[in-house]
């Protein structure tokens, strides 16, 4: 019995496999542009929103995948911004210089503006380009200041979860130096984490060699 040449054996297996792959219809379209219907669906489901608590948790953890993106004007950005944010004014959102930041699969980008409107516009524009991993801070800075910077203490009758959330927000606040302006050097771990819903898509870790 003669041993079969490995190269021939490999060809016998791989070439038909290649043929099969060539025959089956492509399940991923070549173009990465996303259809309007799909974007409308995503908007309807609100999947682009992330809650301030989630973001705050990530800031406290110093989570390396979080990238906050301030879409307000540079003046407003100078006056106040969240820790670690970069400023990409809405008018410049599709300029090539920012493409590296917006079209990637490493970080979670979170747009924010004073409310949700401008951040949402930024998200729609980038989503139309087929970019992934961009999200919108729910309620914008206005809600952030309410929910994170000055949380209302829960009433005595509220369930434990409310207390936990309140404690967490207080912790975030102290970690962020009270006014959520400067990142604290050594953030204490939050005493209790709110339930963070599992994200459907987490970014792919950076590859490279």
């Amino acid at each position: 019995m003669q041993k079969i040449n490995p190269r021939i054996l490999l060809a016998i297996i791989l070439i038909p496999m290649g043929l099969i792959i060539a025959m089956v219809p492509e399940d991923m379209t070549g173009s990465r542009k996303v259809s309007t219907e799909q974007i409308l669906q995503e908007i309807a489901s609100g999947s682009q929103f992330v809650s301030p608590d989630e973001i705050a948790g990530m800031i406290v953890e110093n989570n390396p995948v979080l990238q906050l993106i301030d879409v307000r004007s540079s003046n407003e950005f100078e006056n106040f911004s969240l820790p670690g944010a970069v400023n990409i004014p809405l008018t410049a959102i599709l300029s090539p210089e920012w493409r590296d930041i917006l079209d990637q699969d490493v970080k979670i980008n979170v747009f924010y503006s004073n409310g949700s409107v401008h951040a949402n516009e930024a998200w729609i524009l980038t989503r139309q380009q087929g970019y992934l991993n961009n999200y919108v801070l729910q309620g914008g800075l206005n809600y952030w200041m309410e929910a994170i910077a000055n949380p209302d203490p829960p009433s005595d009758l509220s369930p434990d979860e409310e207390f936990a959330r309140y404690d967490f927000r207080r912790a975030v606040n102290s970690a962020l130096g009270g006014e959520a302006v400067e990142r604290a050097a050594e953030a204490p771990p939050p005493p209790a984490m709110p339930a963070i819903r599992p994200r459907e898509r987490t970014p792919v870790v950076q590859g490279g060699c």
Partner: protein, 170 residues
Amino acid sequence: MDKKYLNPYIGGVLLGLVLLAANFVSGRGLGATGALRDTIATGVRAVAPSHYNNAAYYSENYAMRTERPMNSWLVYQMLGLITGGFISGIIAGRTKLTTERPSWVSSRRRLFFALAGGILFGYGSQIGRGCTSGSALSGMAVLSFGGFITMMAIFGTAFALAWFFRKNWI
């Protein structure tokens, strides 16, 4: 040539399966130089923390990382690579402290060229964002355009220069 080595096609299939496993588990390919880069970053941080915080490269690439740069996927994979190579060498009886060279090439010359080649490869791998395994091999498996370009540039250049350095090898 040496009969003790695995048939290259079988070796290739096994390596392909390892690469497939890496992509299936971690969504990334194999790499070698990334681990070195992380090690260097860690070393720089230990030796000269102020420099580490000010030098453009480290602050841009490691600023967001709170954990030690060494604690990375590529570093663990590299430790595995060394372990795996060692196990294979033990099994095949190939472990031996030696400078491998053709008989007409002096040890010193071989080591000089190894050092020069290493410097070029190290520098080039950072410019090109990945070496033979990280960019070319892993990139080809996921049909990355850049991976193909890097692969062709590496092999094309090596072939083009082969004649000039033939005295070292043949």
